[in-house]
Structures are given as C-alpha cells and as structure tokens.
C-alpha cells in the first residue's frame, strides 16, 4: 500500500488560506525558515540486529565495497530505497566502554548511552542531553520556531524508553497515543483553522503565559539552587510555548485522519495500526513544518509478527534473540531459530520502509521530496542480541538537504582506534546547523564522523 501523498497547497487553499502567504516567512524567522527545512528522525528499534543478515553483500562474490554491494537479507524490504541509504558499519558505543559508574541492565545501559553518548547518571538514567534534544535546542537558538520543538513518540505503551533526555537524569516522556500527538500538532482541530475567535483565544493564552512566566520569575529567587534549576527549566518552556503559539496561529495545516485505535489485546494489529498512525503524524508534521526533530521508538515488534512460537523452547522472542546471538548456544546454529530472529529485524525494515514512503510522498517546492531533506537515523540500544555495544548496525536514510551522500556502504575504519557514535552525532548536529565539534563524553569523541557526504 502506498502512503497517501500530501498536497499541501491544495489543502491550504481548501482551508481558505494562501499557501504562499501562510508559509512566507516573516521577520527574524525568515533566514531560518525560508529554505526547505531540514529534518531529522531517530528511528529506534531494539535488540540491535543479526549481523550476518544485516551486512550488505558484495557483487559477484567480492566483498562489499562503498558503492558495489547488495542489501543484506534484513534490508530486503528497503530495496526500493537502496539509493537513499547510507549503511554505517563499525561505530561503537565507546561511552559505554568508559562507563565506570554503576552497573546496569545491558538494555538500560544501551538505552541510556544510545542517544546521549555519555556516562550514565545512575543505574537507570542517562547522564546528559540526548542528540535529538541537542538538535532541537540548537534549532531554537538559531531562530527556528516550529509548533513543537521536537516530538518524542513510541508505539509500545509498555516500554519505558530511556531515550530522550533534556539533560542529565532528566528523562523525557515518550507519547504512545497518536491521538494525543495529533492534538499537540493540531491544537485548533482539523477544521476552522482560521476563525477569528481562534486568534483571540491564542492572544488570551499568550497573555496568560506571560503572566505565568512572571510568576515563575518571582518565585525563583526564593528557592534553593536545585529547585530553582527545575523551575527555571519549567519557566523556559512556558516562554517557549508562548513563542510557539504564534506559529500555531499563523500557519494552518492539513491534519491526517487517524485510523481507529486497535485493541491492545491483539498486539500485532495494535502495533501495526499505532505505528502507521504515528508515521502519518510524522508526515503531516514535516509537511506542515510543525516540527523538525522526531524521536520515534518502534520497540517492540510483537512476537506474532516474526513467526515466533514455543517450539524453540525459549521463554519468549527476547530470550530467543539472546540465544541465537550466543555462539555457544545450540539455537545459534538452528536455522529455524535464526530465521525467526532475522524475520524480527526484517519486520523492522518493513516499518522503516513504510516511514520512508511517507516522507518520499511529501513534495517540496524544488521538485524533490521531504525524504531528500531529512535524515532518518535507524538506531537502537544494542548492536547484537548478545548485548554487544560495538559495531552498531545503524544506517541513515535520506539526504538531509545535501548533507548525506546515500546509496553507499560506509565502513568506518576500526584501526588504529574505533570511533564512537558520538562522532556520528557531531556530524548529524553539524548537518542540522549546530556547529559543535564534540558531543557526549569528550574523551571518546574525535569530532564529526567523516564520510557522510
């Protein structure tokens, strides 16, 4: 099924708004927003991958090279997008290698390190700002004002994702209900975007927020240092919301109709339907420039979808994945078991392809599509089912407005020293306009990863 194409202009005209007028930048936002926006998506999946089926294969029996390769088995659903992919092999979570602090469950550890690339604050929480939040803040400082600074969404309500962090130990919630996200993206509802009463309401809301911000300011000096930091963060967000309200009022936009929520008792159907709803929201958010930064947690593919059954004798899919990744385990050599694990990751490929389809269906003013102005990083908490955090099976889809040269297999040299995923984040941040030279744990960061473009 091909995703619906977005016809932004026609929709806006239907709503009685001139697309050109509503999208025309004004004032200080002009420079930041005049061009086709660059966006970034962190597409997050669990259990790493199954390396033999992840790696691309060479052509004609040769080893795969940067440009001469075929996609591995797991990536077959992405065949149509091969030219839009940059597979990156050889990055390590070096920040985890230098972690001296508390022990942590391997998955939690991976979660915490995966997007912050810094030592953990404690055994549960990451120790720094995650890359999505860094980029969102950098965009804000560069004068980009979108309806939402970033979106943090996830399909599975039962997973406590320790992915996005505002700062050390400050974990951000992941929204699992597409309707709530819809409400955030389209606060004025699906229609009547431009009724005058809405403008008054926004104006009133702004006055109130201004009043509230003063409340916070008056209170801050009376608090202890620690409490003050917390309330100042709150006050900043109130000010930020006040600014973003004007965006909401000025730009009207098409809102997707969400499919009805599936019952959670049918986990496979729920997963698919919720995932699809979120992807359509991402599409709408980008098409309407409601946000430019999305963290999308696709954990976890329901067991049914990958053909898991009890014949493997494992407690569940998770258990099977671990065993298949352990060379000493008989299941590692059991072809049915390995196939099942490969199917698990292939299902993620299908979801990833679907998202790319939605992005490729957004036309841009220069005749390209939004996919060409987006970087979708497929990342996760571990590299392999055995909890290894080295040789991350990550890839980027989309060209990020010329920041990424795709259709390639980038083999990051592992000698004399392996490079950390910090370096990839520096490159991503740079591509999104944040001129940093180091991200996360400085001692393992060597600067922007070369070779993206």
């Amino acid at each position: 099924m091909s995703p619906p194409r977005i016809h932004r202009r026609s929709v806006l005209q239907l709503l009685g708004v001139s697309a050109l007028a509503s999208l025309a930048p004004r004032g200080s936002r002009a420079a930041a927003q005049a061009a086709i926006p660059k966006r970034v998506v962190f597409f997050y999946t669990n259990h790493g991958s199954h390396r033999p089926a992840w790696l691309p294969v060479g052509v004609g029996g040769a080893a795969p090279t940067e440009t001469a390769f075929e996609l591995g088995k797991i990536h077959q659903p992405l065949a149509a997008y091969k030219k839009d992919l940059l597979l990156i092999d050889g990055l390590d979570m070096l920040s985890s290698d230098i972690q001296s602090g508390p022990a942590a469950n391997a998955h939690i550890r991976g979660h915490c390190h995966s997007m912050t690339a810094v030592e953990m604050a404690d055994s549960n929480l990451a120790g720094g700002t995650s890359i999505d939040q860094h980029i969102a803040e950098a965009l804000r400082q560069a004068g980009v004002v979108t309806a939402l600074p970033s979106l943090e969404i996830g399909v599975d309500p039962n997973i406590e994702s320790r992915i996005s962090f505002a700062s050390s130990a400050q974990q951000l919630p992941i929204e699992d209900n597409p309707q709530n996200t819809w409400n955030r993206l389209f606060p004025n509802g699906a229609t009547n975007q431009t009724m005058p009463v809405q403008d008054t309401r926004a104006a009133r809301k702004k006055s109130v927020l201004d009043f509230v911000a003063e409340d916070f300011a008056a209170l801050a000096p009376k608090l202890s240092r620690e409490d003050r930091v917390k309330l100042e963060a709150h006050a900043d967000l109130v000010r930020d919301l006040e600014k973003r309200l004007s965006v909401t009022a000025a730009v009207s936009c098409n809102s997707p109709t969400l499919a009805d929520a599936a019952s959670r008792s049918d986990e496979a159907a729920y997963y698919q339907a919720t995932g699809d709803n979120f992807m359509r929201l991402i599409q709408a958010a980008f098409a309407c420039d409601r946000t430019r930064v999305v963290t999308f947690n696709m954990e976890a593919i329901p067991d049914e979808l990958c053909g898991y059954n009890s014949s493997f004798g494992t407690t569940d899919m998770h258990d099977l994945i671990h065993k298949v990744a352990q060379s000493s385990d008989p299941l590692a050599k059991d072809s049915a078991a390995v196939d099942c694990v490969v199917r698990f990751h292939t299902e993620y490929s299908k979801q990833f392809a679907k998202l790319l389809g939605y992005l490729a269906a957004i036309p841009e003013s220069d005749g390209t599509t939004a996919l060409q102005h987006t970087m979708v990083l497929w990342c996760g908490e571990i590299a392999e089912g055995n909890h290894d955090l080295h040789r991350l099976p990550w890839l980027i889809a989309g060209q990020g407005g010329g920041s990424v040269r795709t259709g390639r297999f980038l083999q990051v040299p592992r000698s004399p020293e392996a490079r950390g995923h910090n370096d990839l984040f520096v490159a991503l941040a740079n591509a999104m306009g944040s001129p940093i030279t180091s991200f996360g744990a400085a001692e393992v960061c060597k600067g922007a990863l070369p070779g993206l473009s």
Partner: protein, 612 residues
C-alpha cells in the same frame, strides 16, 4: 549528579565454582535434585551451557528495569560469606538493611526535616485537585504525559522533568477548563448575580476564593493585585467571561498550583505547606476546608493537631484510592496490567482472567489495610483471597461465584500477598514461571535490598526447556543449572534462594505439585538479611518468615516514608527514618499507624532544604 563507582552495588562473589545449597540445610533437597543420581543425564547439556562466566545470566526478557535498577547500598553480610573489605559502607537508611540494626536516633538541629526537593503534582494529584477545585464543573479530559517512575514510585520529585509536551498539556488543560468555566459561569462564580453590575468586585471575590484555593493558601496582597490587574485588562479587551477564564488559566499554570512550594530554609513548615503534604499523602488531593482551617488556626503546629487531622483524613473516603495507589506502587501491581501468556500452553487465559486476578489482589490489600488495621503480618500471611468465576479454577476452587468473593483458600497453598495468583502471574513469563523475577521482587520491595542488575556484557538466559534439550528439567532445575557458578552465582544465590520458594506456582500463579511430571521442590533459603536468614519450604513459610523480620518491617517503613516525601531510596536519611521504623515496629506493624507516624514525624513536619 553522578553516582561514583564506589557506590556500585555488588553481590557476594563466591570463590568456588559451584554453589553449595546443601549448606543451606533443607535446601539439600535442591542439591540432590541437581546433583543426585540422575545428574549424568544432564551432562550433555552442560557442555554447551557454559553458565554465566561466559555470558549467561538471568532472564532479561521481562526484567523490569526498575526492579533491577535499584542499588544495593551495602554488601550483604552473613556468617556464611566472607566480608568484602571493598564493599562500600552503608550511607543511609533501612533500605540498606543488613548488618546491625540502625540505632533509632532522631536527627538533630538543622537536620530535623527531610531534605525534599520541590514536588510537582503527579498526574493523579493534578486530576484529583482539579476535581476538588471545581466540584460542580464537568471537566474536560486531561492528557498529561506519564509521570516518570523511579524505584516503583511515580512521585519522585527529583525525576520530575518538565518537558515541552508537559507544559503544552498544562496549557491545553488550563484552557479547556477555563472554557468549561466560561460555559458554566453561574456554577462557578460566587457572585454571578452581581457580575454585571460590579465586575471588579465579583472578580475580586473569585480571586479570593478560586485562586487562593488553587494555591492552597491565602494570597499575598501583591499576588491578589496582580490577578486583579490581569482581570481588568482582559475584561476591557475581551469581556467578562473570557477574563474570568484567563484567571483560571493563569492559576492552573502557576508554579504555586503545579508545585508544592515550601520554604527552602530549614525549620518547621508553615501550616499551609504542611497541610498540602498531609493531603497529598493521605488523599492524593488538595487540602479540604477543614484542613486549611487547621493550617490557618495554627493547629498544625502541634503534634496532636497534626495527628487529629491525619486520623480524620484516614476516615475520609478520599483516603481509599490514595492508599490503594501506595500499595500499587510499593508492590508493583502495575506489572499486573499486562500479563501476556502463551495461548498454546494456556488456552484458558484471557483478559478477563487477568483483570479479575488484578482486582483480587487489589481487594486483598484493601481488606488488609482497612479491615485488619493495615497489619503487615496479615499482608504477608492472611489466607483469604478474593476470587470470582474467572479465577476460581486458578485457585483450585469449585462452584459458581458472582463477582469477587472473599474465599478462605487452602492455607497450605495460599497465605499472604506473595501467594496471590495475580502477583505470581505478573512476575512470570509467557510460558513459564520465573524464580528470578519473584526473588528479585521480594528482595527489592520487601527487604529493600534489590540485587544489582546483571553486569555489563553478561548476556543470555536460562537453560533450555525440554522441547529443545530432550531432557526433562523443572524450571527450578534450569535456573539452578544456569546460575551455579561464577559471576552469576554471586547474586543469584540470594535471588534464587527466594525464588525457588515459589516453585509451586506456575506461570499463571496456579498451584502445582508436579512440573513436567517431576515433583516440585519449593525448598528455599534466605541469606544476607539481618534477621531472616535460614531455609524455608514454600512461599507460605516464606511469608511467615518475612512477617517476623525486622528488616521487612523497616523496609516497609522506608517505602511508605519515601512515598510520603517523594524521595529516592538514596535520599532517605537514617536519622529521619529510624524513629519512624521503630514506631512502626512498636505498633505491631500497622501500616495505618505508620501513616500517622510519618505524618507526625519531625522529618515530615520540618523543611530540610533540598540537599540531603
């Protein structure tokens, strides 16, 4: 703040390759099961098992991060294990129990109050407070992002990160409520009759009533003036109803509403701050008129005054859901919200069964608290269970039941919360029971000594089931084989000692005498506790043992105390907790009295600054 490596939790590292459960007396049965004459038939399995040292540990599939995320603050000490000179000294609290009982010693001077960071209303508190503020209004739905759960509790003040989504939702909610107010002005305004003739006067009355109640204290003159200023400007620009609506929006987004603002200097809390502490502890809700009156009159300055209010609050219906919520968090009832089970193995399992099991466990603790004086002993040993037609088969009961009914269950099989089928099913896998999840649950929630998570790099899971090995092993056998040596043994010796005691309960919490045709061995052992060490047979005996343990009693005090103040385990000061734990013990372990004790404690009634 980074945890230093010295606070890293650790387990006792056993020098020998094999644990010797035979040392644990009755647990010799376990030893025979594992190492007896039939040992040879498992030998092939061991060739590839290679146990933990090469990377097999635990059952990570459904390990709960929070259950596993807790730190053990002190190396366990027991006569059977050598003391570890590198083990960190206990910094705090009964949550670190082990070793000597803390001498009950009150904090002195400036340390009188607990160091509690400023707390934001949890989502539950926010909803209840809105309802109480505007009782006559039909309120819109509120979609706040979920509270962050730390160590099982959703009110950990340190972890309350304000996010953009949260602030938007506060804004959206405030706006939606203000629209309801505008639509039902007559129900909300104290002065609807005079609004037209004297809008300023009416707005003043509204500010004095509504905003003041939202702040949970009288307004200062300057605050009052600001709100009136907001009203007057808005009234000129937008008219009366929108201007009132803006007052509502402003109050509902104010830090004085969303946060419990307290003095940052040490010393007795003022009456209103204390009233809020009390009402959010006992009710998850704002103070009522009577409590605010007590704050105004100075009645809360005395212990007797606080106790009077606390006892009154416990008799109010609002205390019921609030207490249920503490139990739900303490005992991880959230795990019962999702209990997928293999439809191949358990075709009779369905959502209705799961939901009835959950309700049954909730009713169980409700009865213990409200009908049995909150007795900790009853919690751990009472043999009554709430059963309905859907769960009767799981409890081995016959006959038609209409709705949840209190049944006297077989006392040899069911006794106390640990044997409630709902909890047992929650701490199990889809296909099998889990000694590990159950053992960790007991250590974490009842003994406050959660084992550390598996060390980094250690992977894998327990030994295969019969389908793949071709050998018949009980769940216990498989776990024991996996954990018998090396790195795993260090922690799993303790975990499995508890967990094996649950061997009679399958993945659904059903009693079984055999597993795969083999007799069930539920012999367990307790070690590294202060006063509960030794062997036991089955979860019923385990419950009785724990009911008599001072460490469990202190742990319960610690958990409720932490919840009362929104503190993390590491932020509980010994000197604050000790007198509370002592009083709890003196009350014969009444959780009801524990709430009163906490409410009247120095730690609760004094500000402590935010640094511990």
């Amino acid at each position: 703040m980074k945890a230093s490596s010295s606070s890293r939790s650790r387990c006792v590292q056993l020098p020998e390759r094999r644990v010797t459960p035979v040392e644990a007396g009755q647990a010799g049965r376990e030893f025979r099961a594992l190492h007896g004459p039939s040992w040879a038939r498992w030998a092939p399995a061991l060739l590839w098992l290679s146990a933990c040292t090469t990377g097999t540990i635990g059952e990570p599939s459904t390990l709960d991060p929070d259950v596993f995320g807790r730190k053990v603050d002190q190396a366990p000490t027991s006569s059977s294990t050598p003391s570890d000179p590198t083990a960190p000294k206990s910094p705090t609290s009964a949550s670190t129990a082990g070793g000597q009982a803390p001498a009950p010693q009150a904090c002195d001077g400036a340390q009188l109050g607990a160091a509690a960071p400023i707390a934001r209303l949890t989502n539950r508190e926010y909803r209840n407070t809105l309802r109480s503020l505007l009782p006559r209004l039909s309120l819109p739905a509120v979609n706040l992002p979920a509270d962050v759960v730390v160590e099982g509790f959703d009110n950990n003040a340190k972890a309350q990160t304000p996010s953009a989504a949260l602030i938007e939702q506060y804004g959206a909610s405030a706006e939606a409520v203000s629209e309801s107010v505008m639509a039902q002005l007559h129900d909300v305004l104290p002065c609807a009759q005079t609004a037209d003739s004297d809008p300023d006067g009416c707005a003043t009355q509204f500010v004095d009533s509504f905003v003041s109640r939202a702040y949970r204290r009288p307004l200062q003159a300057a605050e009052r003036t600001r709100y009136l200023g907001l009203f007057q400007t808005a009234n000129t620009e937008y008219g009366f109803p929108p201007a009132i609506g803006m007052l509502v929006q402003a109050a509902l987004q104010s830090p004085h509403f969303l946060y419990r603002v307290e003095s940052s200097t040490t010393g007795p809390l003022d009456g209103y701050a204390l009233a809020s502490r009390l009402s959010y502890f006992f009710w998850d809700d704002m103070p009522d008129e009577e409590l605010l009156d007590a704050a105004a009159s100075g009645a809360l300055a005395s212990t007797a005054g606080v106790e009077t209010q606390a006892r009154r609050m416990l008799t109010d219906p609002k205390a019921r859901p609030a207490v249920a919520s503490v139990f739900r968090q303490w005992l991880r009832f959230d795990k019962m919200e999702r209990m997928p089970k293999s439809s191949e193995l358990f075709p009779d399992w369905n959502d209705q069964v799961a939901s009835s099991l959950r309700s049954g466990a909730e009713r169980f603790v409700e009865r213990v608290f409200w009908d049995m004086d909150g007795s900790l002993e009853a919690l751990l040993t009472d043999t009554g269970s709430y059963v309905d037609q859907h769960t009767a088969p799981l409890y081995g009961l016959q006959g038609q039941l209409t709705g949840l009914t209190l049944m006297d269950t077989n006392a040899q099989q069911r006794s106390g919360i640990l044997t409630q089928a709902g909890l047992l099913a929650a701490f199990a896998h889809e296909t099998t029971d889990s000694p590990i999840l159950r053992g960790v649950f007991v250590m974490d929630r009842l003994l406050c000594s959660a084992p550390p998570p598996p060390p980094p790099g250690v992977t894998g899971s327990i030994v295969e089931t019969p389908q793949t090995t071709g050998m018949t092993l009980t769940t216990r056998d498989r776990v024991a084989l996996t954990h018998e040596s090396g790195e795993c043994a260090a922690c799993h010796r303790s975990i499995d000692g508890f967990g094996f005691g649950f061997s009679h309960y399958d993945a659904l919490g059903r009693w079984r005498d055999t597993e795969f045709g083999l007799p069930v061995n539920a012999a367990g052992w307790i070690e590294n506790t202060r006063d509960a060490n030794g062997t036991f047979d089955g979860a019923v005996e385990l419950g009785q043992r724990l009911a008599n343990s001072a460490q469990v009693s202190e742990c319960a005090s610690a958990q409720w105390y932490r919840y009362a103040l929104g503190l993390g385990a590491a932020d509980v000061a010994d000197c604050s907790l000790a007198p509370i734990a002592q009083a709890f013990a003196n009350s014969d372990g009444s959780l009801k009295e524990l709430m009163i004790t906490i409410a009247t404690s120095d730690a609760f009634r004094n500000a402590g600054g935010t640094q511990p």
